[in-house]
């Protein structure tokens, strides 16, 4: 699986969401997106669900959020 990293933790709203949605739209079946932000991106979960993708939150601490996202029916590694 190809790993793609997107760090939006130094961007102000609404850029983190735009960057994340753009990355979701470009995500291929053999890719996993690692998304890093300074806060829990509540809106992104709706965008992920709308695109029938899956995710796993790896870290959710004050000032540090990390999750990985991939297309359904693809085994994550």
């Amino acid at each position: 699986m190809k790993e793609i990293f997107l760090d939006v933790s130094e961007l102000e709203a609404p850029k983190p969401l735009i960057e994340a949605v753009l990355a979701l739209e470009q995500l291929q079946e053999n890719e996993v997106l690692f998304f890093k932000h300074r806060m829990n991106p509540r809106h992104l979960f709706g965008e992920i669900a709308a695109r029938h993708m899956e995710y796993e939150v790896l870290k959710d601490e004050p000032g540090d959020f990390l999750m990985k996202i991939w297309r359904k029916n693809v085994s994550r590694s």
């Binding site: 609404p14 969401l17 949605v21 739209e25 806060m39 809106h43 965008e47 004050p62 000032g63």
Partner: protein, 418 residues
């Protein structure tokens, strides 16, 4: 290509904007009424003082806060209000009819108008508080944000009841001052402060690339305030004024702690650049700290400092903060709704021109500074009101301009047949 956002939860753009624009109109009206009646006010108990205060609190603060909740609860918590259009229209109607009758009643000393307006405001606030409280509890995640919002709505409910009792008291049924003080404390520290802190916990990290507030503050400050307010209500009703004085100091300290962390977090933001909203935020936090200090120790003063507390809290503190939030929220909502309508050319920074925001805020600062001179002559009240008229007209024009920006892009989309 960016394909837009899925905003099933968000209400129509027109709902919050209608509340914001109406709030701006009340602000212009306030500046005119202050020029006409402000020179006669000596104490907070005068009918003119009560009328002008409520033009600001109901006319401006509540319109902006309620309008924002209709939009922000769904956006921030992912839970929509039920029948949002009907409910928003009902609350908007009651709020406006109530505000006009209530304020008109105090200015003309017409009891019927005061009571009729008060009853409508009672209906508007109780229904909004009930509706919002129920809505936040639909959220699957009962995190600090939900808890802060819920506490704020619960206190709005209780504060409204005490306010109505105080109003009835003007006809001699109860001790208006005692119930009025409880109403003010619950409204300020409950509804307004808890809502402001909840929104700040979200907005500051989101829009200013800043760190989050400490967990202790986000999760426990509202509990402490609830407890202190409960004590305040009990001991104020019991006329135990010594304990009330202690509780006032503790409530003041809560506000000062919040102000301290807001300033600290904003000072340490990652991309520190000139931003009029940040300037307003600092200004607001300093004013809230001054107001809280005076409120905490005012029982030890021989002279009545209530008008000064009101000035620093309402005009210097809450007003400035709401002004700052509007300059982040209106551009964001405009972009948000355009994006969800598949319009991607819009830029958040273009919704309200930076220069226009700066001019409006400079006029506000000039008005604030002139109001500080009013102890030296009532002439300054008129000058300060004129400056505030200019500031509030510009704020109104900036909000309307944001709405115009939205309509322009939607029209372009329709014209192109997109």
């Amino acid at each position: 290509m960016f394909q837009g956002l899925s905003l099933e939860q968000a209400p129509p753009y027109a709902i919050p904007l209608r509340f914001y624009i109406t709030g701006g109109v009340y602000l212009v009206v306030l500046s005119v009424l202050t020029a006409l009646f402000g020179t006669q006010i000596q104490t907070r108990y005068e009918y003119e003082a009560i009328a002008l205060t409520h033009v600001l609190t109901i006319g401006f603060f509540s319109h902006i806060m309620i309008g924002s909740m209709f939009q922000m609860l769904p956006v921030m918590l992912g839970i929509p209000y039920k029948n949002v259009v009907t409910n928003a229209n009902l609350i908007y109607g009651l709020l406006n009819l109530g505000a006009v009758l209530f304020v008109g009643g105090f200015l003309s000393e017409t009891t019927l108008s005061m009571h009729l307006g008060g009853s409508m405001l009672l209906g508007a606030f109780l229904y909004f508080a009930y509706l919002s409280f129920n809505t936040v509890f639909q959220s699957q995640e009962k995190d600090f944000l939900v808890q802060n919002f819920a506490a704020s709505f619960a206190l709005l409910f209780v504060a409204t009841v005490f306010g109505f009792i105080a109003l009835i008291g003007h006809s001699g049924f109860v001790d208006t001052v005692r119930f009025g003080e409880i109403h003010i404390a619950l409204m300020l520290f409950g509804w307004v402060f808890l809502l402001i802190d909840a929104v700040s916990y979200r907005i500051i990290p989101m829009f200013f690339v800043a760190n989050e507030f400490p967990k202790l503050l986000k999760e426990h400050l509202y509990k402490l305030i609830l407890l202190l307010l409960l004590g305040f209500v009990f001991f104020r009703l019991d006329e135990n004024l010594h304990l009330v004085s202690v509780l006032k100091i503790l409530l003041a300290l809560c506000v000062m702690v919040f102000a301290f962390f807001s300033i600290k977090i904003l000072k340490n933001r990652k991309r520190a650049r000139s931003d009029i909203s940040v300037t307003l935020w600092y200004f607001s936090m300093l004013n809230l700290s001054v107001a809280a200090s005076l409120f905490g120790v005012d029982d030890f003063f021989k002279t009545d400092v209530a008008l000064a507390v009101g000035f620093f809290a309402f005009f210097g503190g809450i007003y400035a903060l709401i002004n700052a939030m509007l300059y982040k929220i209106v551009p964001f909502l405009t972009w948000f709704h355009l994006s969800s309508s598949m319009v991607f050319e819009a830029e958040m920074s273009e919704v309200i021109q930076r220069k226009r925001m700066q001019w409006q805020v400079w006029f506000y600062f000039a008005s604030y500074a002139t109001f500080l001179l009013t102890p030296f002559g009532s002439f300054f009240v008129v000058v300060a009101s004129i400056l505030f008229f200019l500031s509030s007209s510009m704020l109104l024009s900036n909000i309307v301009g944001g709405y115009g920006y939205y309509k322009e892009y939607i029209k372009k989309k329709v014209d192109l047949g997109v």
